[in-house]
């Protein structure tokens, strides 16, 4: 356990070595938050309710999305691609450590540091613009929010790691990742709440894993607990298990296929 804690600490420290790079990355997230804040504030300029949302609920939604994107979508699994292509993964596999635990240690450090910085960005927004925010009065929603958040983290991790494992077969991993990131930026709810879309489109999206990354936990925080959540929670759990199985299959086949050429 201690060695994984060390990896966690080293990963954490790495961000303070490449400070400019990290600060610029977070600045980009902050600009995105500002853009969404002004866009939605403008939409509510002449209306009190838009797509069944009040302004305080929608601003809370984009604030939550900023924080949850840092936790759920922040990832170091992209390093695995480079490790496989360069052959460095052979070194990792020879070490007396669990490959997956090492990745989880790095992933945790990445998520925590991104989470802390996203909190600072939200605090800046709240301090400068004083928007009204919505706090869910139904405390039953909070455990469910945490549960769905964990499911979202797991789904994101399994997809991202599976995409990295593609490099066991091909060097062209950026293309599927580009499509994945495009889909995430649009149909995961990072730009707008998905229920503003027409009902058939929304219902179809609920069958895919994307809404469960950041939209669904945020929706629970905003709308509270209701019986309509049962099916989406079941679907998200099915996706979680399915994607875990897929990741393991891809890993097992990939490692069997891997010859570390060039090493």
């Amino acid at each position: 356990m201690e060695k994984y804690l060390k990896i966690f600490q080293i990963t954490f420290a790495q961000y303070f070595v490449y400070r400019l790079s990290f600060i610029l990355w977070r600045a980009r997230n902050f600009f995105n938050l500002i853009f969404l804040y002004f866009l939605w504030t403008s939409v509510f300029h002449n209306q009190k309710i838009v797509f069944n949302y009040t302004i305080d609920k929608l601003i809370t939604y984009i604030i939550l999305i900023n924080i949850m994107t840092a936790i759920v979508l922040g990832t170091r699994t992209t390093d695995v691609t480079e490790d496989i292509l360069s052959g460095n993964i052979a070194n990792d596999l020879l070490k007396p450590m669990s490959f997956f635990k090492v990745i989880i240690s790095r992933e945790s450090a990445d998520k925590i540091i991104n989470f802390l910085f996203s909190l600072v960005e939200v605090l800046v927004l709240l301090t400068v613009f004083h928007p009204k925010v919505f706090l869910q009065p139904d405390f039953a929603a909070y455990p469910l929010f945490i549960l769905t958040l964990i499911i979202g983290i797991a789904i994101s991790f399994f997809i991202s790691l599976s995409l990295s494992f593609i490099s066991f077969w091909s060097a062209e991993t950026w293309a599927p990742r580009f499509i994945y990131m495009t889909l995430v930026s649009l149909v995961a709810g990072t730009f707008f709440p998905l229920d503003v879309l027409p009902k058939p489109v929304y219902n179809f999206l609920l069958l895919t894993p994307f809404p469960y990354l950041v939209y669904f936990p945020s929706k629970i925080f905003i709308s509270g607990v209701s019986s309509s959540l049962i099916w989406p929670i079941i679907i998200s759990l099915i996706w979680c298990i399915l994607l875990y199985r897929i990741m393991l299959i891809v890993w097992k086949n990939g490692i069997r296929n891997y010859s570390a050429y060039g090493r």
Partner: protein, 272 residues
């Protein structure tokens, strides 16, 4: 004497165009060496555009107005942003690869070549995939501009002129990033921050409060690039804003070239 200078300038321009054409052909060939990547990349770009477009469509259709603009006007803002953004990516894709040249000191070999380094590091990697998408953007733009009331040839000419002005600013931005890459070896985030700023004006600038609005208009002149041309098209552009836009563009171009020259003097070929 004057004729000799003109002849030499013509020869130089022809030579530069030939080199540009050659580098473009190499870039296209390199792109198509990864056919799967080409397909995925195009699919990704099309999906992104279609979903954003539909989102804006549903959003403004539901709310009727966005910052005082109707649906067609908002879409013209969005399409103008897409056109300028894609043109910039089409021309300046090589800037994304510049960091590697600096840290490996391969930039030395670029500087030694008997042509201007911008031919290689600024426009030497034309991205053909963005060229494919420009045609649908243009088609949609012409369609939605055609739906605007009170359109005149004068407005279209000023709009087109300001789009060219926007491309000059985009060129300056990319030269600035090249200069920063020499000074700090930081390219990726600087480029993405530039693109984030431009994305902020994919919607009318009127959604922002002051002083952010003026900041995006005159300090980081992305507003001049994407907002001012559309305002001219709607007949809402005032003479002071028009004159200030041109002045800011000139200042920005001069500043980027000055910074580039300054950075070149500081280049030490560390990785060589």
């Amino acid at each position: 004497m004057a004729l000799e200078i003109i002849r030499r300038t013509e020869d130089n321009m022809k030579r530069s165009l030939n080199i540009f054409w050659l580098l473009t052909l190499f870039s296209i060939k390199t792109t198509f060496q990864q056919p799967t990547g080409v397909i995925f990349f195009l699919i990704g770009k099309i999906i992104r555009f279609v979903i954003y477009f539909l989102f804006i469509y549903y959003l403004v259709k539901g709310t009727k107005l966005l910052a005082g603009y109707n649906l067609d006007q908002t879409i013209v803002f969005f399409l103008t942003f897409n056109l300028i953004d894609s043109l910039a990516q089409l021309l300046f894709r090589e800037v994304y690869r510049f960091r590697q040249l600096v840290v490996s000191a391969e930039f030395d070999s670029v500087l030694l070549k008997p042509y201007h380094p911008f031919l290689r590091i600024l426009v030497g990697g034309v991205d053909i995939l963005d060229a494919v998408l420009i045609f649908p953007y243009l088609f949609l733009l012409i369609y939605f501009i055609g739906k605007l009331p009170g359109l005149s040839l004068g407005k279209i000419l000023i709009y087109s002129g300001l789009i060219i002005n926007a491309m000059l600013i985009a060129t300056s931005f990319h030269i600035l990033i090249l200069a920063l890459a020499i000074l700090t070896t930081e390219v990726d985030h600087a480029l993405m921050i530039y693109r984030d700023f431009t994305r902020m004006v994919s919607m009318p600038l009127d959604i922002y409060r002051e002083p952010l609005r003026s900041f995006l208009l005159f300090v980081i002149p992305v507003g001049i690039m994407m907002y001012v041309p559309v305002r001219a098209l709607f007949g809402l552009l005032t003479v002071p804003v028009f004159v200030n836009s041109l002045a800011v563009s000139v200042i920005f171009i001069v500043f980027s070239l000055w910074l580039w020259n300054y950075a070149l003097k500081k280049y030490q070929s560390w990785g060589g």
